[in-house]
Every structure is written in C-alpha cells, then in structure tokens.
C-alpha cells in the first residue's frame, strides 16, 4: 500500500471511531487540542443549533451565521467546560445568545418563520396516538395559525419544547430563564392556544 493510502485509511478510522464517542470524550479531546474532535461535535449538534437559531432569527442565512458564531464561541470557551455537565444545553445557550445578537443587528420584528405541514405529512408520522395524529392532521393549519397569534415569548417556548423537542433544561438555557419559569410559561401558553382555537369559527362540511 502507498503511504498516502495508509494515511487516508488511518484518518478514516479515527473519524469512524469518533462517531461513537460520548460527548465528554470528544470535549476532553478538544480541550487537549484535537480540533477534529470538535468537528464531530459540530456535526452532531449543527442541526439542533441551526434550528434553534432559525426560530430566533427567522432567517436561514442569519441562522447559519449565528450557529457558526455560536460554535466558534463555544470552542473558545471549551477549556472551562466541566465534563460532568451536559453539553447540549450549554452549547444551545451560546448559540441562542449569538442568534439574538444577530437578530438585534437587523432589528427584525420577531415572528415564527415556520409553515404548517400538509395533513398527509402529519399522518405519515408514526409517533403519537391515532387520535393525536387525527387531530394533528385535521388541525395543523388552524393550530399553526393560532400559534402565530400568540405573543412571541409563547410561540418560542412552544416551538422549542414541542417542535424542536428541547428538554426543559435546554429550553431554559436557550431562553435564559429558570426551569420553573419554562414550566409556568408553557402552561400559560398552551392555555392561551386552547382559548384561541376554541374561539375560532369553523365551517362544518355539509353531508
């Protein structure tokens, strides 16, 4: 075998072995100067980071910038990260801060940048009870319309918890508030959503 092939093979082997390493191991490697270990962390968390940034900025381009900036800031602070703590909430807090800074530069009025999926798309999702899927398929458009009528803070907490499915701790980290605040804010937001939906007129199809 040629030397370059051996080198490529070793590189692929190292890359493959990092795929299954837990976060703490990758972070520890990063702290010791292994930038490729951080590259694996980026690949692992870029989807959730980008989507959180997208919810906050409302723009794909700004979300990309904010997520990139968030990862760079995380890298520069990685030396002080305590390995026994979960990485994702810490990272998402940094990304969310970068996204809010990005949105502040453009002075864009915050608004949910998502559209409702088609009913067919919702039904093909295997998760949830049949009743929930039926409700979701039937009411996707109305729920999204109602969601967008909530105030921005309520839209954010619902989107982060149920669409991106962040944990309570992660949602608190992104919003910069206590976990108890997330709970109470979410409860009130769902209540307001139910009220809006209940008050919305709906035509009943004729037989």
């Amino acid at each position: 075998m040629h030397a370059s092939s051996n080198s490529d093979a070793r590189c692929e082997l190292r890359k493959a072995s990092r795929l299954n390493e837990p976060d703490a191991a990758l972070i520890a490697r990063t702290q010791h100067g292994d930038q490729q270990a951080f590259a694996e962390l980026v690949r692992r968390y870029q989807t959730v980071s980008f989507r959180v940034a997208y919810i906050i900025t409302g723009s794909a381009e700004e979300a990309e910038d904010a997520a990139q900036e968030g990862f760079v800031r995380a890298y520069r602070s990685i030396d002080r990260f305590r390995l026994e703590l979960p990485f994702r909430p810490w990272l998402l807090r940094i990304v969310a801060n970068a996204a809010r800074t990005q949105r502040g530069r453009t002075a864009r009025h915050p608004a949910l940048p998502l559209s409702e999926p088609s009913p067919a798309q919702v039904v093909t999702d295997g998760s949830g009870s049949p009743e929930a899927l039926a409700i979701a398929a039937e009411s996707a458009a109305e729920l999204m319309t109602a969601l967008k009528m909530l105030r921005w803070e309520d839209q954010q907490v619902i989107t982060l918890r149920y669409f991106i499915e962040l944990s309570e701790a992660e949602t608190a980290a992104v919003l910069g508030c206590a976990r108890g605040t997330v709970k109470s804010r979410l409860s009130r937001a769902l209540g307001r959503l139910r009220s809006i939906v209940a008050a919305a007129p709906r035509e009943v199809p004729h037989a």
């Binding site: 979300a63 602070s77 999702d125 669409f163 508030c177 769902l190 209940a198």
Partner: protein, 286 residues
Amino acid sequence: MRDHGGRPLDLQGAALEDALRAIGHRVEYPPVPDLWPAIEHQLQVEPLADRPRLRPRELSWPAFSRVMVTAVLIVLVMVGALVLIPGLRQAVAERFGLTGVTLQFWEEAPNVPVSPVGGALGLGQPVSLAEAVDAADFPLQAPSSLELGSPMEILVTYGQSNRMVSLVYPASDRLPASRYSGVGALLTQFRGTTERGLIDKGMLVDSAVTTTTVNGELAFWIDGAAHYFMYIDPAGDVQAVDYRLAGKVLLWEADGITYRLESELTREAALAIAESLQPVAVEGTD
C-alpha cells in the same frame, strides 16, 4: 375547532401536546448547512483564544489590521490618552462591544475613603432575594459556584433608566477578603443601554485590562492597581453617588445585561464563577 361531524375536538391535556409534537415532526425547516468548513476557517484565521469580538460583516479591514487597531487603542488607553480625547473613551467600550459601560483612565487616584466592611456600600437599598427579583428589570442571575456560598446582603439601586442589583458575598477560607471593601465578592448586574454609560469605571494608568470570554461572550478582566467604581447618568455626567475602590474585576455582557464581579480571586476562578451563573427562581415569579 370541530371535526367533520361538527363535534368539538378534544384539545385538553396531552392531546394538544401530542398534536403539537406530531406537527412539529413534519414542519419544514431550511436545509441544515455543513457548518464545520466555515468554523474551521474562522478558527484558523483567528487562532487567539482571547481577542476582541470582531464582526466580519461590519468591518471591511482584514483581520490583521483589526488586531493592530485594537492593540493601538489599548496602548492609547494605557498612556491616559482617553482622558484627553473625550470621544474616544466611549468608542473604546463600543469598539469592544460593551454598552452601558465607559472606561475612563485617570492619572492619579482622587482621595476617596474606603467603604467599611459590613457598612453601607453605597449600592442602594438592602432587599430580600424575592424583592430583588421583583425589582430587577431583567432575569436576575446568581452564581451556583460553591466558593461563594449565599450572599450576605442584596442591594438594589434605582437608576434613571434601569435597576442595578448587587449581591454581596462574605469573605471565607475560599474567598479572600477584598483589600478595599473587606467583602469576599461583589456581583453587580444591570441592563446596559446603548446610551452613554450607566457606570464608569475609573482606573489608574497602570491598571491592566485584558479581554477574555464568559460563555463565549466578550469580557474584560481588569487587574492591578486600585480603580474606581462610579455611576454616570444617561446624560453622560458623572454622579458622585458613592465611590468605591475595587481590586480585580471581571466585566461582561450577555443578552443586554452587564455583569461585574469584583473579588480577590484569580482570573480563572472569577471566570468559573461567572460561568456558573444561573437564573434565580423564586416561587410565584415569572
């Protein structure tokens, strides 16, 4: 909301949450870009661990020029040039991306008495934690680091355009007493504005100022000879509400809130405390 039979749909309890999750699984997001190449490039272009925050979209200078300009500004600051060039002082803080704080450099210290330990620190009204949470016009944070323990005093100052909350921690085995105030640590936080500084920090010309990061956010580490902690009103006038002498200060901003940690700890210990900040939750508050 009703189903095809005209019956109202049940959105109580978990049904609504399940419906939201089902919708959320199928909502379309923009395609996720491959972020690593751009990140890797940025880390190679700016390999220094501590550097002022530079926003490539806002500056058209190459990275080397930006670093040189920053270095020149620091040199000017160290020789007291900022005292002589009024417009430049605010430009320094803004250049480093901190609002609400103006750094002023003085050639010699005025004759200022040291605040007594346990006495009035000139930081406002003593309140309970719950009252401080209510009074703050921002989410109040507190260190979760074990070194500090619980604050022995909490104070609130009502400014013209903001509220300032100070947490005072006692000296202990793990927290050496300040040479000036006698307390172990003082954490002050307030909403920074883009108007002319809420707090001015006066420093002697041989004070050292370095930049670092707290949770990825730009921060200042101020060390060396004693400097001053002063209030300034939004009109830019210095208000001599109180004077304090401070030793080592970590100053940073996050989400529009400026934080100031004063102690005799090392920079690394101060950074660890700063990064241990957690929102304060009190029953019944939002």
